[in-house]
Structure formats: C-alpha cells, structure tokens
Symmetry: D3
Subunit: 252 residues, 6 copies
C-alpha cells in the first residue's frame, strides 16, 4: 500500500482556485475534482448534505484534487474531528467571532499537544497510512471564517494563533453583519474597508487570505490580494446552464 | 420560474390540524401532505430521521401542504438554520426552559437584524426565489415548545418575544416534568392547570397555542382553545391499522 | 453462532395471515413483524422499493416473523436468486401464465438438481449457516401468482409441479384479465368461478391456496378456503389512519 | 385530497422543451422542474441512477413540471410498469428495433385491454387518486426511441401503433448505427436523411417527433420540425459551468 | 406482540467480550452479532457512520446480540437521547473530563426524576413495548469513557454517580493525554498506572471496568481485571484478512 | 483535466491477484483497492449490492486499483452497458452456457461495429474523457464465466470469440453443475478434469484463465496455470477475523 503524502499547508505565494459543493453528490464531487481546481470544498453548513454523503464525496475528491476541504456546519469539536477522520484535508469553520472561538476550532482540528482532537482516524488512516496521527498536525488546515463584525474586531487575535495558516471571508454574512443586504457589496465603504482590513491583517501575520467569490468577481478578488478564491459552485452552475439554455431557445 | 409565496404566520383566528412524521419516508410525507392537513411536521428529535432524509421529505411536502415544519433535535442554531435552508417553513424547538433559550431559538431562525441566521438558503432559494432572504423573517415560524416546568415558569418572557407567534405544548414531557408519568393526564390538576396557564398566557400575548394530540384527544384540545393541533402520526397510525386488521381477523 | 432453522414449507392444515409492505422502510418492516403476522411480504413489483432497501428490510423481519417473503418484480431468475441470497424465505412470482413459466420460477429458486439457482447465498449463509445450500431446496417457497386467464387455464400444470407448495391469487389483475375492472369482484360470476377453480385445483394437488385481501374481505376468503391471506398493508393502512383522523376531527 | 389531473398526450401543435437528468439528485430534479421546462426526463439507461433514486426525483418533479418522463434502461415490461407506478407520466423506451418491440413497450405501459400492465399503482394512486387505473391509458405516454437502422426500417410499423403518440430520436446511437461516430452528424447525408425520414413518417402518422439535442442544436431541430426537444442536461451543464469559470479565471 | 425484556445492567461478576463497528453496514452489524459477542458497539465518534445508518444497524443487532451499544460522537444530550430512542441499549460517552460531565451524560440517558431525557422512544417502544419509558432507567447503560487526564483526576466523582454501572477506557486517547503517542503503551509507567488507578477505583465503587482492546491484548486486559473488553473490529479485521491473503500469496 | 488512460487488456504473461466485494460499502472498496490488489471485483450477482451502491464503490476503486471489475447479476445487455457507463473497466458475466450467450455478452460490452452497446458513457466519460467511446472497445474486458457443463461443452466456441481475452471459472457452481456439492472439489476427477479442460482451451486460444479462489487455494491455482486469481473477499474476511478473535480469547 502506497501511502500518499498529506498536502502541504496553504502558502501565501500560491494562488488556489476552488470549487464549492452544495449537492449531496459524489458524482458532482468527482467531476469537479477532475476539472483541475486547486481545492474542492464540501459545504455542510448551507449545502444539502449530511454525514452520510460526506464519505463518498471525500472518496471521489481524494486522489484527483490536491485538497478536500469541508465547511463544517458549526464550530463543534466533535464534527470537526469527524470530518477530518473521514479524510478531509482541512476544515473551514463558519461564524468565528473571536480569538477564543478560533482557538477552539484549532484545538478541535489538532491532536495533542496543540489541540484536543481524539485519535481514531478511520478513513484518514486508510488513505494516509498509520503515520497519519503523527503527520496530521502539520498538514491539516483549520481555516476560520471572517464573516462577522466580531471577527473583524478580533483579526489580530485570530490571525496570530498558531495553526491558523489561512482564513476565509464569507462576504454575504459579512455584508449582513455590517448592515448591508446579502451578497457582495463592492463599492460600499464598509464592505471595501472590511476586505482591506482582512487583507492587511493577513499580510501582517503571514496568513493566506481566502474568500468566497464567483466567476465575475474572481479576477477582482485576486487583484485585491486574495490567494484562496472559490470561483465555481455545483448547484448554481447547473441552474445557470439550464436556465441559459431555456432562455436562449425560448428567447425569453 | 414562478416563485411561490412563503406561507403567512400562524393566525389566532385560524385552526390548523397537522400530521406528525417519524419515519424517514418521503412517500409517507407526500401521502400525508396530499390528504389535506394544514401542516406537516417532520420530527428530527424523536423521529427515526437524519439530515439525509429531510430534504426529500421537505420536497415531497412542499407544494402540497401549506406548511412544512420540522421539529429540530435540539435548540442548536446550526441545525435550525440548516433545516430552514433545506426549505422548512418553520421549526418547532423542543425543551425550551426560559426566555433566554427561546430568544436563542428565534435568533437562530431569523436573519439580522432580528437574529443571527447565516445566509445561504440553498433549497429555500431554489423554491422561493432569490428574494427569500429578504422575505424570510416575516414568514418563517420559530415555535418554542412548552414542555417543562421551566417553560411554565417563564411563559410571559417566552411569549412576549418578538418573532414568537406560536408555541407548541409537548404534553408527555410536560407531564413527566410535573412528576406525572408519560402521556396525557387530563383530569390531573397539575396537568390541567398547566394547559390552562399556557392558554391564558397565549391569550394575553396574542400567541397561537399549539399542542401535540391524537384523534381521540383532538376535539377536547380544540374546545380548550388550542389552535394548532397535531392529530395524526405516520408510525403509530400504520401500526394501529395493522394490529387492528390482525385483531379483527384473529378475534384476539 | 447458533444457526436458526429455516422455516417449514406452507402447510394446507395451517392458516397464515400476512402483512404486505410497499414502503422502502425497515422500520415499517420491523414494526409489522413484531405485531405477530405469520408472514410479511415485501413487494418489489408494485412497492416503491429497490434492491438497496431489501436487505435492511429482510434484516428487520428475520427473527421476528416466521416467514420473510418477497414478491419479485418479474419472473427473472437472476432477481429470484438474489432475493433468496439476501435472506428471503420465499418468493411470490407475479404474472405466471403457464406451467412452463412456473417451472422457470421454480428452477430459479432451487439449487441443482431441481433447479438452476447459482450458489453464493451471501446473507442467507450469514443467518442460516454454511449448511444453507444443502437445506435450502426443502425450505424455500416458490409461490406462483394466479392472476391471469393464462394461469387459470394452466392450473393443473402449474399446481402439479414439484416445488410448488402454495400459490397466491392476485385478485385485481385477475379481475382485469377477466374483463372486469381493478379490485375484487365478489358476486361477479367470472370472478367467483375463478376463485372456486383455484381452490378446487389446490385441493386436487395438495397445494396451499393464498390470496391478496384486506381487513374487510379476509374472513370471507378464509371461509372460502384460502389458507394464506394477506390482510394488512403499510401504505394504505397509514393513509387510512391519517385520513380517518382528519375526517373525524373536521367532520368531513 | 385534491386529485390533480393527469397530463394530456403530446400534441403535434405544441412544442415542448425539456431537461435531461443523469444525476441521482432530487435537488437537481426540483431545480430543473422549477425553471419552467415543459418536461423533465430522468435517464435510467445511461444516467447514474437506481430505482432508489427514482421516487424522490419524481416527487421533486411532480407538481412543478407538467411531465415527468423516465427513460427506462431497457424495453422490459416489469421496469416500465414500475416506473409508471412510481409516478412517471410517460416512458421513453430505448433501442426499439421493430414494430413488435414497440408493441411490447406499449403493452407494458397500458392496462388491459390495450396492454398487459399489472395493476398496483403505488405512488401514482397517491398523487392521482383512485381513478388512476381508469384514466391512465389515455394519459400515459409510451415513447419509442428511434436510434437504430432497425427502427428506421420499421418506421411505419412503429408509428402506426395505437398508443404511440410520440417518438424520440437518439442521434448518437443512430449515428453509430449508421456507421458514423457518436454524437450528431448534421451535414452527413446518412444522418440528415434519417432525420428527414423520421420527420416525414411522423407527419404521415400524426405522431409527435422528439429528439435529444443541446443548446446549440436546439433551434435547428425545432426548424427541422421536431416538437419535443431536449435542450439541457444536469451533469454536462454543471461541468460546463465549472470548467467555464476555471478557464475564464486561469485564462487557459 | 411479545415484548422482549430489556437487558440487565453490566455485572462485575460477568466478563463481556465485544465487537466494534466503524463501517456503515447493517450486514457487518448482523454478521458480528450472530457470531456470539456479548455486545456490539456502533461507533459514531470515529466510525464512518451517520444517523441514517444507525437504525438499520441497530435493527440488525437487536435480537441477536444481548447488547446494542452506541458510542455517541459527543456528550450531547440530544444525540444521546436519539440513539436510545433508536433502540440502543446503552451509550458509551467519549471524552468525559469531570464528574459534572459524567452527570450530564447520565441525565441525558435517564428519564426524570434521575435525568432529563425527553419521552418519545420511537423504535425503543416498537421493540420493547409501551412499558419502555417505565423500565428504561433500570436497564439503559450510560458508560463514561475514561480517556483523559481530567477523567483520571475525577475517578471517584465519576464512578460514584448513581447510574454509572460501567466505564470504558479509551487507551489511545488516554496515552496521548498522558503525553505518550497514540495506541497502547503497556510497560510505560504512566499508562500502566492509569489502568491500575481505573481498576482500583472501579473496585472501590462496584463499577464494571471496560476497555478498548484487540485480539493480542485481550487476554492481558482480562487478567488485569477488565470485564468489558472489545476484542474485534470490522474495518481493521477486514483489512487484516485482505492484506494477509495478499502477503501470503505474493510472499511479500 | 488529465484523462487517465484506460487499462490494457488482460495479458497471459501476467498474473493478477484480486479481491472480491460483496458488501455495499465504498469504504471496503477503497480499503481493498489501496492494499494493492491487481483488480477489485464488485459482485452484483451474489453480493448484497444494488445499482445505488455501485457508483460510489467504483469511484472509491478507480484511481487506486488498476482494474475495477463488476460481476453483473445476469447476461443482460442493459445492465452490462450500465455498469460500464458507471466506470467499470470490465464485466464478469455469470452462467454463460454457450458461444451464443458469450457472443451476446461481448456485444453488450462493445460499441458498434463489434457490438451493440448504446452510447452515453456517463461517468466513464467523466473519468476517461470524451475519447472514451473510441477507445473503449480495445480496453473494456468482457469475461465470460465458465461454471456450467454447458460452458464446458462450448469452450472452443466461447474462447475463440473476438473480444474474449479472459474467462473466469466459478468453481462452486461448476461443482454443483457436475453433480458435486458446492465449493471446490480438488481431487474429484470430474472437477480436476474440468479445470484442466479450461486451462487447455485457454492455452489453445490465447485466452487468460481466471478462477475464484481463496487464500489457501490460491497457490495451487497459480501453479495449475490460472493467471487471474481472486484470493480475498470482504465479508468472509471480516467474519473470519471477528470469529478468530472470539475463538482465541474464549478458547472455544
């Protein structure tokens, strides 16, 4: 049995483009992975996914995509551990409001002494070998989301935590938290300032900045300095292709 | 794409009769919805259901029944948000012991500024359209359960919370909490007094009183003043029909 | 490991009352089995079931009900063998039109020399032990359905086949085949005569007569001489209980 | 319980644009249905679907799309009946090579006296009511595929069968059968002549011509006279959107 | 309906050998149960299992194995209650660090007055009858795991709680917590002393000591005084058999 | 998107050792594949598998094992095509009794002009690229089983068919067909002669001989000249490991 190496941590010098998965479909996961994205992220917070769906999806992603990330539904240590046991190479943790919450997320993703993760890496050991427990802490990525005013006010605390190599901005919740509506609000000062503050803090701390985007925003986000940029999604991509076909033919 | 309107809030002037689902079966959900109940409630607390089962069940209920409620397994914000993202029109939240706990439930079900629900309404946006986030807070129903002595002692606090339009009594847990056995205990003073207290408080606060019942208790509950009354269930209904057939033929 | 014994063949001296399952639910299967029916039949012809559902349902039936029957979707040897490998104690084979078709069904259910069933009893060996292949032919029940005019014209041929211990009348398809509508048609000469012909032929050949019924018809069928009588069903039982509750309360 | 009416047969005066589903996803099915296609077709021949997936997908399509078609995996009467029992409003039957094969397909889809379909419409009766068996034969559409030289040589026989209101051309298998490679071959005489022959025969017999297409071919097919045209697909639509995003950002 | 009796509590005079399940497979669960283990434990913490898998697995274990335990993913009252509602006869609760945490686990597993478990024993009532709620508190086993230095420091508090009849040592997490690597560390003083401390405390409090082991360690653990010893596992057992075959033939 | 190459045909100069899968488990499939078997075969004839299980299992095998074979449930063209569309690199076809039956199997597995396989390689095109249809006929392996006296009497006809590069002996069905009991019967003249006849015919026709074996028979089979030898299985391997542990500790 060849034991494939665990992926390296995110690197500020490298841009990574990703695909987001909300459908409980290992076929969508495999298809996305084979297209060549730098990472695939399976969304258990808002995606229509359960734990039952996660293992086959991670299996379909594993050897094809360098990174198999999971956005966990909440900052819950048991769930974070379980997703990593199932083979995720990292977790994106939503709604982090403070350095304490980020620290809890990191501790859930790391074995002692850095953290409290319980040993028992069921599928992770199947695919990465028995050395997984020893190697895991230097590879597994715990990525706090910056998407609330609480997080904006705690950037230095969150980004200076050992084990935080990358963060991920959720622009829609961030906008709502700032009193704007859902979605992106480029041009609104509060929104633009928030992104700038995140990017500056990332630079200060050597943390890789990531953000949720889409095809039309991706170039702007890369130019702004984000290095982990989600540019495609399964469900909305499929809907767009379908409605595009219908509109073209019907001339609607 | 026609965007069907979200259902209106519960209304004290209207009686609603519902069906309770404990089986992980989209067929049972569809069959129940087509029979004409005013609401269907999928029970994730005691029902034998997982998140995997919920989406197909909500899909089978959606256009046939005016309301697709989910009893969430616990007062957990991530789960409440996920069930609403999957298309539930409301949540019944068990074991609320205080106004603070009810407030947490409401905040989990509501987008800012009323609450903290994270944006990302995967299926809700598919069926209700892109305006869902704006419209949701005036439609989604967050229904605290009154089923402990703690809740009885906090009725005014719970029922005066903005966003609480209805409550739902769990008579079996309430009975156990009162030191009676499981089930309903009509005629026991403690039980009768508790229902009266709930109904009175609902009247004071303009909140719609709901309760879990069964075919033989339903008329009494309606006469007492309850306006949301669950009168049927999948598993026990099926068992009753089967054992009835067997008893009739065998003459047991 | 205790190896439970395989059930005995149907016996003309014993009446067996059964429950029919159309829902893909191991919980319904277990609940039905625990109620004390003499057999449970999982319907893969018209039930909303796939092969994925069958194994958990057979597992939920197995130790609680003396017989776990499967109505196979068609007279197909591969499917008949697979259902028996999964642990069914017998198969009901629909739409048998001739002795040749019944012989094909029997051959599919029996190992050589009586039949052609392929060895590889995956779950059957797990639950019945390694001796299963030797013991199977004397226990497994292959039950042709009598539900077409073709079958009525071939009764002696079908019922004299070695390995046919019981038959099962499908009254609805039989009625349609006779030019009557779906359902039962007691009182219609063609229908009554058909049942009489089946019962007479069963008596001549020592074959146990079975029929699909319901609670209100069951006593009549038993009086007519049927010995295997299905008296309850999951989906219609559940619907009946639900609509009964609704009608009672609403006064519809 | 309101019993929704069964859809009307295909009509040569009406153009219908459809969406094709290969993913085992009730969410994709619901999303496609809500976009306003005239029909949705669930592909059990080449789609990555099993019987387990079909019922939830049909439930997700049902009230939103006027037609819920299933391409069955083969011209097998048991499977055709089962898909209709599960609520399909019609079946597309692949690889029909002769009038006899088309007649077998029609008989499988129709109750007596026109056909041999077995009664037991599990979900169809749940959604269409108890009258379904009487109404079904005038509504259910059995659509033979024209995709082999055998079918081309039997057009008049196939199209004159009572119960054949529409046919569906599979251009890729037709091309391969004609000695061309897979895909469409507009401009190749053999391919163009075959489409013309199909359209002419449809005109002669008052049968509605359908064909599998894609967004870029759809207008041409409509101009040629096809009236049932599949213009979108789930998996390839999703892949196209994802790879489009990647190519745009990476500048590949 | 015969109501099978609930199992008796663990007994210090009886040794129980168990099998551990990490695969989401009701077939593995049934096969293990039929082999004659004294208990089967379904691992929801590190096993690749979801709630969807649990019910069929518990159904496959139920009548064959005296005890159907579930290791819950976390000390969460809603999850503990749900697993018991689904028919588990006991729960193993990981990562208990204090008497307070153990008390919370016991309260989640027990109905009032001992605990707070909500009534609604869906499957438990199906298999154990309507008396389940009354009988449950004397039968259901809540088994805290001793696997952290926190638990070692709280042994007397944990073991003296009413309702704690047994504990279960997780040697790998315990080792990591003690600063040793994952796995067992017999011969290391810290590890040996910890086991001794647990056994001594169990003796003092009349609590049955359990531990996670494997075939080669089991005899040693029994000799040390452990009475609940897990000696086999599904996934590693299967992998060992497969790799053993390959190594034997290839002569690797 | 890198398009991985399809595997080469079986080669008489190469020995391939395989693992057999009967459990519906993508985790077992992945674990087996990672152990380094030359092929993995998913058994849909006797395995407890449905079409729902096949895609995730093939996804878990794909990049890790050189060959992902499926034993189809029967010699049915629709099923053979579907398994290949889902990504199987070859099919083992049971119960082939004649050259005509083998020819039908080959035609089902090959596109025109060699066969009749319908185009639409859903997942095969996802993983192997758009060229799959052109490349498939030179890579896909259609492997008839030799397991009946009919096949023994038709060896030259079966083995001389273009497209038959390998055959697979089912020793248990072969034994039963020869009038011996199930299992292997080395030492029985009829059994030994049958194996010799198969090996001789393979040599004459340049066809690679395969056989179902187990760890203790594998060396003998390799010495006899078989080149494709299945040496391990999921379910029996797991059961053996579990019962071995129990017997060792209990001293049974």
């Amino acid at each position: 049995m060849t034991s494939p190496e665990l992926p390296a941590p995110f690197d500020p010098a490298t841009t990574e483009l990703g695909c987001w998965l909300k459908l409980p479909s290992s076929i969508a996961a495999e298809a996305a992975s084979l297209l060549g994205f730098d990472y695939v992220c399976i969304d258990m917070q808002h995606g229509l996914l359960s734990r039952s769906d996660l293992t086959p999806m991670l299996q379909a992603v594993h050897p094809h995509s360098p990174r198999a990330l999971v956005r966990v539904p909440a900052n819950d240590p048991s769930t974070i551990g379980w997703c990593l046991d199932a083979g995720a190479t990292g977790v994106i943790v939503p709604l982090i409001n403070s350095a304490d919450e980020a620290e809890a997320a990191v501790r859930a993703a790391m074995y002692p002494p850095r953290g409290d993760r319980s040993t028992g890496p069921a599928r992770a050991a199947v695919i990465y070998g028995n050395d997984y427990v020893h190697a895991s802490n230097t590879s597994v990525q715990c990525i706090p989301m910056i998407e609330t005013t609480g997080a904006l006010g705690s950037l230095d605390g969150i980004l200076s935590l050992p084990g935080v190599n990358a963060i991920y901005v959720g622009p829609s919740d961030l906008s709502v938290s700032l009193g704007l509506g859902p979605g992106n609000h480029d041009g609104e000062t509060a929104f633009d300032d928030a992104l700038t503050a995140v990017l500056d803090a990332c630079n200060r701390h050597g943390v890789v900045p990531g953000i949720h985007a889409n095809p039309s925003l991706a170039t702007r986000r890369l130019e702004q300095g984000f290095r982990i940029v989600t540019i495609a999604e399964d469900l909305s991509g499929m809907q767009g292709a379908m409605s595009g076909a219908l509109n073209t033919i019907r001339g609607d």
